[in-house]
Amino acid sequence: MSGKTLMRGTHVLGEAAIRAGCRAYFGYPITPQNELPEYMASKFAKMDDAVFVQAESEIASINMVIGAAAAGARAMTSSSSPGISLKQEGISYLAAMELPAVIVNMMRGGPGLGNIAPAQGDYFQATRGGGHGDYRVITLAPAYGQEIADMARQAFDLADHYKTPVMILGDGMMGQMMEPVEFPDPVDLATLPRKEWIVNGSKGRASRTILSLWLDPPKEEELNWRLARKYEMISEDIPDQEMYLTDDAEFVIVAYGTAARIAKGAVHRVRESGMKVGLYRPKTLWPYPSKALKGLCEHVREFLVFEMSMGQMVEDVRLAIEGQRKVSFYGRPGGVVSTPEEVAAILSSAYNSKTN
């Protein structure tokens, strides 16, 4: 018997975060991710070394994250689209102050108040920085329950390693859906690398400052260069993707998260009628796994990007392909979830229109 449990995505994320050493959670209710703060509240109530605060707003909660991260804790906040917009100021500060933190966005239909159905309209916001200034946020895109657990662990490790905010970009359906998962053993906090930069009182050492104000432009430029070098390193180190049936594929559909699951179902169906199609699924959205995607141009004639939006990631695909192949797009925004049959029909007609 395996050690699997059937859990909903929000709870998986919470449990995996706690096992990854998260000891500080700050949030504000918003559907469809309320079960995550509720999970953290119930678990942290039984732990002496963990802090849960329901803040008065998303703005307050991200600023609490800044404080806890500066104090050395593995800190997390979560929300859904409208709340993530409010957090952007704080995320910009986290990036500038080089503080590690994990931010979860269970995307819903937008813009505005929108609705509570699953959507992918926040891709630009997540991958382009989102707030003001010249920075990026590592963005991880799980598609399966098990991957939510794995990426939660990875997110905290990456955040600490690179001293930068990391976003887990899911959607409303992923948060509600239950799938079997297996959790890794909890990390022993004592074994994590010591953070020699935190502010916890200067007893026995010179005092430190964590800040984002550099009045002297050359100093601010220096920060920007340092961040740029860091982002370059991240772009070398961590791009990741799943390639499914791409080895002999002539035509590849590119999708992430929930859309990628649906696309995979479509690939299955289209393969059954003998068409050589495959799926390219980025697991990191920033940095975008461009190299492997471009490598596919050797034998892939054309790409179709499928998103639950009006087309955002498609720009990264086009940048990666560098005009070498045609890239077409299919999208369903607003919280509409396509069926694999629907996407299969689009995929096979795109495949055939090229062959003819």
Partner: protein
């Protein structure tokens, strides 16, 4: 094999528990499973529903636009889902609360008097597991043993009596189908 099933009724009928037990049973057989409860505004007004997918392959979408099976525990659920059932699929009706049948010729209908059977076995609240027993017997999605194990997992930490009662209710549902064959 990939089967999708929607469970639907009103709050208090144990609709989510039905789906949850089935999904856990599938997991115990190392199958791919997803369980998707309705959430948010959709659950206002006291209705409850969930979708379970049990499959030998990775599951593309946890949503069922044309499920093989639908379990309707009350009349509004039958009305809501009758047109979605896949042609050749099966609709299970709680015949204690639903006296009509779906207006379709191309699907099978299984009527189970879940309230009555649960009442007769001395546990009114077990109507959901009675229905699940019937579903198991007709669909063969998972084995009876897995359902039994799943009930133990789901009710872990609860009184043994409750576990026994739920397992017994499943048998009552199974026997009802066997008896009516």
């Amino acid at each position: 094999m990939s089967l999708k099933i929607i469970f639907s009724g009103f709050g208090g009928q144990g609709v989510l528990m039905m789906g949850y037990v089935l999904a856990v049973a599938g997991m115990k057989e190392d199958k791919h499973v997803t369980f998707l409860p309705a959430y948010g505004a959709e659950v206002r007004g006291g209705t409850a529903n969930c979708t379970v997918v049990v499959s030998d392959e990775e599951i593309a979408s946890p949503i069922a636009s044309s499920p093989e099976f639908v379990v309707a525990m009350n009349y509004p659920s039958m009305i809501k889902y009758q047109n979605m059932v896949k042609s050749g699929g099966t609709m299970f009706l709680n015949s204690d609360l639903i006296t009509e049948v779906p207006a379709r010729e191309d699907i099978n209908v299984i009527k189970v008097p879940a309230n009555t059977l649960a009442h007769e076995m001395g546990s009114d609240r077990s109507l959901n597991m009675v229905m699940l027993g019937a579903v198991r017997e007709i669909t063969d999605i998972v084995s009876g043993k897995s359902i039994s194990l799943a009930i133990e997992t789901v009710l872990e930490g609860k009184k043994q009596k409750l576990v026994d009662m739920n397992q017994k209710a499943v048998t009552v549902g199974v026997d009802f189908i066997l008896g009516s064959k």
